[in-house]
């Protein structure tokens, strides 16, 4: 069974969704309180309306957040207890669970069950305190006073208090200790008022402060750690078995073998968790993962995106539940603009001018020859959405569905062949063989890409799979012809177009020889300006216009051959009751899960 997408909603549901979206964005962008009253912004909880407003103002609201969850999720409340064994897909080991160092989905899917934040947004988009009982905001949205929850203890018995919040903040601000220090750039200070109160002072109002920075699942910088435990255990052991205040405690973690979590009896909510024990096993290969599911060795799959060849197999199995939603990410084929036969030395021209250059003609020919539907069918077994830009459907409000028809990259084989002929390579004759760089896990999909381009344009492409560390080094240095890669976890436009599409983006050839290559894989001044503007634009309607314009430029000028947006798939055995409240795309929250 599958979840509903935007397209499959009933008329009444769409109307409700649009009404809520409209209200969410209905505020004066200059208002530091985002059109909300002090009471509405303060705790012990925030209404769905307030959360939607903050998420909209912070640019993190997506239509996917608001979709009604499908029936088929376990509404049956079975008895508590039991042991759930999970397989974490596509990973050989969970290298760390220290929030200061985690940077992979496979890691924070686990820490979300073990560690807590100050806030939590539930799937109904109601903001509630996690380790806070209540909070107050000052008149200009720059100070937050949090009253911490009483009686909370860490897994090792230590009491949680304001000192732990301060410790976490100071540790996270230190870039030598935490890789997430930049998340707290807007926080000027954190003061301890008393043992159960802390005051955060911000440099300027920040809509995403409550809904993202302090949120349990997404805000790694302020995921609360135990000072005592860190000092006693040392960072190495803490990274394996972190001590938190979450519903589960880690009792064992052997690298490469798995993580064992047990119910934390003194969790502040006595009704959770329901399970006695959760075992998480990293399983890197798809076939053993499938066999483990079919044999009953594991009952739920988390971790990295599931291999697409397994989805239909599980869907056909009456003992399995398969839940699919559009994932937040994109995948592309990147073209090196400094390759002699695909050279584009300056993108700062209208498309009509660029079309006179042979290098751009080749680039556009490749993009137009890419049959995305065929690619999805052969490489992704029909799962995913064709992409024409970095902005994905999960971003909802910002997604431009019409781009697939208006982009210059729209599939057109005849036009692609004409462009190649005009560039001097009719039928691909005389065009050199290209190398398509990928990682070993991407070899099959890259072979499909190579086959499609060979069939449609007559060009020869050699798939070159190298392990990640080499692949990254070559990408950063621009030592490649074509490269297949992309991004995941992109819920906000900043995650996609800022990270990838600006001249100074962190992935844009940062180690290239700048004397020979003034820019990396793409550079356009107008796109740069639009992207910078959207980042600081508080009016969501204006921001949407800026985002979509920038996205169109990167699409039309073929910043890359945008390939597809992956699907987010959750698979579990029918014995597992996975309630609606726990289905958050990208996460695997197990505190309400039960076993029949």
């Amino acid at each position: 069974m599958t979840n509903k997408t935007l397209d499959e909603l009933s008329l009444a549901q769409r109307a409700e969704l649009e009404k809520e979206l409209g209200e969410a964005y209905d505020f004066d962008p200059k208002d530091p309180m985002f059109g909300l009253s002090k009471d509405e912004l303060s705790g012990p909880d925030m209404s769905r309306r307030a959360v939607l407003r903050l998420m909209a103002a912070g640019g993190t609201l997506t239509a996917m957040n608001m979709l009604p969850l499908a029936a088929g999720f376990g509404d049956v409340q079975a008895a508590s207890g039991g042991v759930l064994t999970c397989g974490w897909s596509g990973v050989g080991q969970i290298v760390t669970l220290d929030p200061a160092r985690i940077d992979q989905v496979v890691q924070f899917q686990i820490t979300s069950n073990v560690l807590s934040g100050l806030m939590h947004i539930n799937p109904d988009l109601v903001g509630e305190g996690d380790l806070t009982e209540s909070w107050e905001v000052n008149g200009d949205g720059t100070e937050y006073l949090f009253t911490l929850r009483k009686g909370v203890t860490f897994h090792n018995g230590d009491k949680f208090d304001a000192d732990d919040v301060l410790f976490t903040y100071n540790r996270s601000k230190d870039s030598t200790k935490s890789i997430h220090s930049r998340v707290l750039n807007n926080v000027n200070s954190v003061e301890k008022v008393n043992d159960l109160q802390v005051r955060f002072k911000l440099a300027k109002p920040q809509a995403s402060f409550l809904t993202k920075t302090l949120e349990r699942s997404s805000g790694r910088a302020m995921t609360i750690v135990s000072r005592n435990a860190l000092e006693k255990m040392g960072t190495a052991q803490f990274g394996l078995t972190p001590v938190g205040t979450g519903p589960f405690k880690i009792v064992e973690h052997q690298l490469g073998q798995g993580v064992v979590m047990e119910k934390f009896e003194n969790y502040y909510d006595p009704s959770r968790p329901k399970l006695d024990k959760v075992i998480i096993k990293p399983i890197s290969d798809p076939e053993p993962l499938a066999a483990a599911m079919e044999s009953g060795d594991i009952q739920l799959i988390g971790g990295n995106p599931l291999a697409p060849e397994l989805i239909d197999r599980f869907t056909a199995n009456p003992d399995m539940v398969v839940n699919e939603v559009t994932g937040p990410g994109f995948q592309s084929i990147w073209i090196n603009p400094w390759h002699e036969h695909m050279k584009v030395a300056d993108f700062n021209k209208p498309v009509s001018e660029l079309m006179k250059e042979k290098g751009f003609m080749v680039r556009l020919a490749f993009a137009k020859a890419m049959d995305r539907e065929r690619y999805l069918k052969l490489a992704q077994f029909g799962h995913g959405t064709p992409a024409f830009g970095t902005i994905n459907p999960a971003m909802g409000f910002y997604y431009d569905k019409g781009l697939e028809k208006t982009s210059t990259q729209t599939f057109d084989v005849k036009e692609a062949q004409r462009l190649m002929a005009e560039a001097g390579y009719p039928g691909g004759k005389g065009f050199p063989e290209l190398r398509l760089a990928t990682t070993p896990s991407g070899r099959r999909e890259s072979t499909v890409v190579a086959d499609i381009l060979r069939k449609n344009l007559g060009v020869k492409i050699q798939v070159e799979a190298k392990e990640w560390s080499v692949n990254v080094e070559e990408f950063d240095s621009m030592r490649w012809d074509l490269r297949r890669s992309g991004s995941g976890g992109d819920f906000d436009p900043d995650d996609a177009i800022v990270d990838w599409m600006q001249t100074e983006s962190k992935f844009n050839g940062r180690k290239r020889d700048k004397s020979k290559m003034p820019f990396g894989y793409f550079s356009d001044r107008e796109a740069d300006d639009l992207i910078s503007q959207q980042s600081t634009e508080a009016d969501p309607v204006k921001r949407k216009a800026l985002v979509q314009k920038a996205n169109k430029i990167t699409s039309d000028k073929v910043a890359s051959i945008f390939l597809f947006h992956p699907a987010d798939i959750l698979v579990y055995h029918k014995r597992v009751n996975f309630p609606k409240q726990s289905r958050i795309p990208g996460l695997v929250d197990l505190d309400r899960v039960t076993m029949s």
Binding site: S175, K281, E294, S295, W468, S469, V470, D476
Partner: protein
């Protein structure tokens, strides 16, 4: 004998030192920056350089080598550069029992199959039994172990539900949980091993059975059983023990592919992941252990020769 053992041990240490040095240099010469790959998503060059400095990876290779060697001689193999920076010795101590478990059971499976098969094939040469054993041995040798592993999982775990599909349970948690998790991986690994040993036994036995002293023994009226077990088999063992020793060392250094299929973090998988991640301390530590296994396995085999064949004596 003792002098021989001391000389060989010293030689083994020299080999280990040479291997470790070579691996140390090669690792740093191959392409791939582990820190940049680890922090790729962070994209902060300053953070990357900071961590590189903290780990001492910005120092000249000879300085890094000197530090590593000095620590290794004191039993400190350093920490993994990834994630939680766990001690390498801890990772090795966790991986070794898993690999030892698979290797031991594979070894038993292989020997239990190979010895009777090899003997039957040799004593019933050019008969149906011989052809059957030869055919089965070739099939066993030809089947890729990962393919066999997946087949075993599909049949015995996913369909018949007789055995678990993946994972490892330590012996401390019970014999049957430990053993049941090792049956399928051991069969996958042991099959090719048994084929090699069976063929070796057959060849060696055929050579011995044609010797003059065997003809004399036969003409004296000794039973076939006595001929085979008391005279032929011990003399055929020398080359067989050599192969078994090498094969066991290979097993102990980790059947990487099978460990991956069954999601068991043994020595082989630890080593391969270390290489792919460019986790220098892990690779260096694991290589030291693997080279120790090889050289001391060879030493053990040489010592065994002197027990099998009394004519072989080691001395000054």
């Amino acid at each position: 004998m003792y002098q021989y053992l001391i000389r060989r041990t010293f030689g083994a240490l020299v080999v280990m030192f040479a291997v470790a040095t070579l691996v140390f240099i090669m690792l740093r010469l191959v392409p791939g920056d582990p820190i940049a790959a680890m922090l790729y998503d962070v994209g902060d060059p300053a953070a990357i350089e900071e961590i590189r400095r903290n780990l001492g990876l910005d120092r000249p290779i000879y300085v890094q080598y000197g530090i590593w060697l000095g620590n290794a001689l004191q039993g400190d193999f350093g920490n993994s550069i990834y994630g939680s920076r766990v001690e390498v010795s801890r990772l090795l101590l966790e991986a070794l029992p898993r690999t030892l478990s698979i290797a031991s059971i594979s070894f038993v499976v292989a020997i239990v199959i190979a010895i009777p098969a090899g003997l039957i094939a040799a004593t019933r040469r050019n008969t149906g039994a011989d052809y059957a054993v030869t055919l089965i041995a070739f099939i066993g040798l030809s089947m890729p172990d990962f393919w066999l592993a997946i087949l075993l999982i599909i049949v015995f775990a996913a369909n018949l539900h007789w055995l678990p599909a993946i994972g490892y349970v330590p012996l401390s948690e019970g014999f049957w949980p430990w053993f049941s998790h090792l049956i399928l991986p051991s069969i996958a690994v042991g099959t090719a091993f048994s084929a090699i040993v069976a063929r070796m036994i057959r060849s060696s036995m055929l050579e011995v059975l044609n010797m003059d002293y065997m003809r004399v023994a036969r003409s004296k009226g000794l039973s076939e059983m006595t001929l085979v077990w008391s005279h032929a088999f011990p003399n055929a063992l020398i080359p067989v023990v050599t192969v078994i020793g090498i094969a066991f060392a290979l097993l102990m250094s980790g059947a990487v592919v099978v460990e991956n299929v069954f999601a068991i973090k043994g020595l082989g998988r630890l080593l391969i992941q270390g290489i792919l991640n460019r986790d220098y301390p892990v690779v260096q530590g694991a290589i030291l252990v693997v080279s120790a296994i090889f050289v001391f396995s060879n030493l053990l085999v040489d010592v065994l020769y002197s027990f099998i064949d009394p004519r072989i004596r080691y001395g000054s």
